[in-house]
Amino acid sequence: MAPYRARAGAGSRATARGAASRRRRRLLALLLAPWTIGVVVFFGYPLVSIIYLSFTHYDLLSAPRWIGAANYAYMFRGDQQLGQAVRNTLWVLCILVPCQVLFSFGIGLLLSRARRGVGLLRTVFYLPSLTPLVAAAMGFLYVFNPGTGPLNRILGAVGVDGPPWYTSPGWAKPSLTVLAVWGSGNLIVIFLAALLQVPRDLYEAADLDGAGPLARLRHVTLPVISPVVLFAIVTTVIDGLQYFDQAYVVSSLGNGGAKLDDGVLGYPEGSTLFYPLWLYQQGFRYFNMGYASALAVVMLLVALGISSAILLRSRSFVHQTGGTGR
C-alpha cells in the first residue's frame, strides 16, 4: 500500500504544483494586463489600422475604399514633392543629428570636468529642453529675424552682416540645426551621467601609461560610454526621422504669416518641408489619409531599417563589459 500511497502523494503534490503554477500564470497575466491592453489598443490597433488604411482611399469622412497598392505606386511614381521632403529629412539625419550628438557629448564632457558652478551650468544647459518646442521655435524666429531681430543687430554692431536665417532656403535648415542643438538638454544630461560613471582608476592607469587627453578620450572614455553613445545615436536618428514641431512653426510663420495653419508648409521654397510635415500635410490638410498612412508605413520601415543597421553595426564599436556574452 505504501508505494501506492507514495504515488498518490506524488500525484497530489504534482497537482498542487500545477495549480500553483496556473495561479502564478494567472497572476502574471493579471499584472501584465494593463500593459498588454495598452499595447494592443494604443500600438497594435493603430499600427494595423495604418497598414490597412495605406491600401485604401480614405478622406477622413467617407468609408475607406480598398485600392490595393495605388498609394505606394503614387508615392514612388507620381508624388513630385516627396523627393524634396526625403532630401530634407536626409539632411536632418546627416547634419542635424550628428551636430546634436557631438554638441551634447562635448557639453557633457565639459560639465563633467567643471570644478565650480557645476549646478548652475547644468541648469543653464538643461533649461532649454524644458521650453515647449513651439514656443522655442517662435522665440528663435523673433531672435533670428534678419530685419528686426536682436541677433543680426548685434552682429551688425560688430561689423558682421548677418545672414537671412529662416527666410532663406540656404540658411533655413542650418538655422533649425541651431535651434535643435540649443534644445539638446536631455541628451547632455544622459551623456553627463555616463561620463561621470567612467571609473577613475581607468584614467589613472591611462595616465601611468602616458596617455594624453585625446588618447584618454579615445581609449578610455568612448569605449566605456559606447552603449550610451549608441543609445543617443539611435534615439536621435528616430527623432530626426520624426522631426516636426520646430519645422512646422518655421514653415508656417517664417514668411511673416499670422497663423500656424496659414500658407504653404516648407517655407522658404520647400527647404523646411520634411517627411513628417509632408505626411501631416497629406493627412490633415489635404485629407488624403490613405496616402498619409502609406507614407507613415514607409517611415516606420525606414526607421526600423536604420535602427537595425545601427544596432547590428554597433557590435564593432560598442564596448561590452562583464558577463559571458549570452
Binding site: S49, D59, L61, S62, G147, P164, G263, V264, F284
Partner: protein, 438 residues
Amino acid sequence: MRRRILAGTLAVLLAATGCASRPGNERPAPFDPHRSTDLTVWNGWNGREAAAFHSVVADFTRLHPNVHVSIVDGVDDSTIMTSIRGGYPPDVAAIGSTTTMGTYCSTGAFRDLTGYLRRDHVTTRYAPVIRTLLDFHGTQCVMPGGVDTFGLYYNTDLFAKAGVRRPPRTWSEFVADAKKLTTYNKDGSIRTLGFDPLFSFQQNTAIHWSPSFGASLYDDRGNSALASDPGWRDMFTAQRELVRAIGYQKLQRFQSGLGAEMSSSNAFQAGRVAMQFDGEWRTAFIADQAAHLAYDTATLPVADDDAGTYGAGFVDTGVFGIPQGAKEPGAGWELVKYLTQTRAAQVKFYGALGNVPSLPSAATDPAFTKRPHFGTFVDIMNNPDSGSGTPTTLGRADKDALDQFAERWQAGRVPDLTAGLRGLARQIDDLTRNANPP
C-alpha cells in the same frame, strides 16, 4: 481570400469606431419653433470677431426663444471633420473659405442644401463669382457668409511724393509706378518699396493674382489649365520682370525685415511699401492700427491686352454648412438662413468684421458702400470677370503646388517656364487622380 477577410474585418472595425461616414437623409428637416431645441454652432472666429458672431446669434435666439444656441469659437477644419467622422458633429459649422468645401461636399459630410433652398424658396441672385463658387457639380452644400475680395491698397502720400497721380490700371503702368515709388539707401538696399512682387509675401499668391491675367486653374473638363491657359505664362513672366527690375536678393532682404502681416507693423501700414495687394479686411486693420495713414484702394491692375476686364479681382467666401449627423438640422438650417438671408444680420455681422456681405441687398447698404475705401471691394465681388479658386476634392493641395512652383520660379529655379507649367499641370492632374481613384 485572407486579405479580403482582413480588409473586411478592419473596415467593420473602423466603421464601428466611427471612421466611416453616415449617409444621411437629404430630405429637408422641419423646424418647429415651439419645441425647445439645443443647437451647437462651431466657428473659426476668435476675439472681437467671435464676439460679433455671438451678438448676431443672440439676435436670432431673440426671434426664436425656444432655440438655445451653444457656440464654440476657434474651431478649425480638421476638428470639424473629426467630429463628423466621430458621429458628434455640431448642428452648424462655419468655415472661413471655400478651399475645403469640395471635400465636405463630395463626401456628403455637409448636407446637400438643395432641398432646403427649394422648400423655403431661397432664390437669392448672388454675384456671378459667388454663384460659381457655391455650385459643386450641380449640388450646393454650403451657404455663403462674408466675402473676401482682394484689391490694391496704395499710400497716397508716397504717390504724391513720387508724382504718381492715380492708381495703375494696366500691368505696364503698375510696373512703371512700382519702380518710381521704390527708393534706395546709399548702400543700395531698399528704403521704401513701390510694391513687393515676391510670392508668399502676405497675400501675394499666384491664385490671388490670377484674375488680373484672366487665368483659370482648370479647363472645362476639369484638367489643370496651368499649361494651356496663356494667362498663367503672362502672369509669371510679368512677375519675374518686376522681381528682376529690383533684384530678388534685395527684395528678400528687405522683406525679411518687415513686420508681421497682421501686426501694427504691417509693411503697408508702416509706410514701408507704397502699394500692396490685400483683402478687404485690411481697411478695418488700418482704421484700428494706423488711423492716420493716408491711403486709398483700387482694383488690381490687369494685363495690358486685357484692359477691358479692369475692375475684376480674386474672390472667396466664408461658408456655413450643416454637417451630416447633425442632431437638429432643421433648426440649424433656420439659423443658417437667418445668418445668410437676413439683411440686418449680414449688415451687423460683416460690418463688424469688415468683410463684404454676400447677400446682395446687404452689400448695397451704406454701411459698406459709404464706408471709406471699402466700395472697391464690393465692386470687385460684383464684377462679372472676377475669379476664384475652384473648389475641388483636392482642397488646398492644388493651390499649395502652385505656390511652391511660384516660389521656385521667382528664385530663378525654373529655367523653362513652359516646361515648368506643363510639369505643374501634370502634378495637379496626378493629385486629382490620386484623390479620386477609380
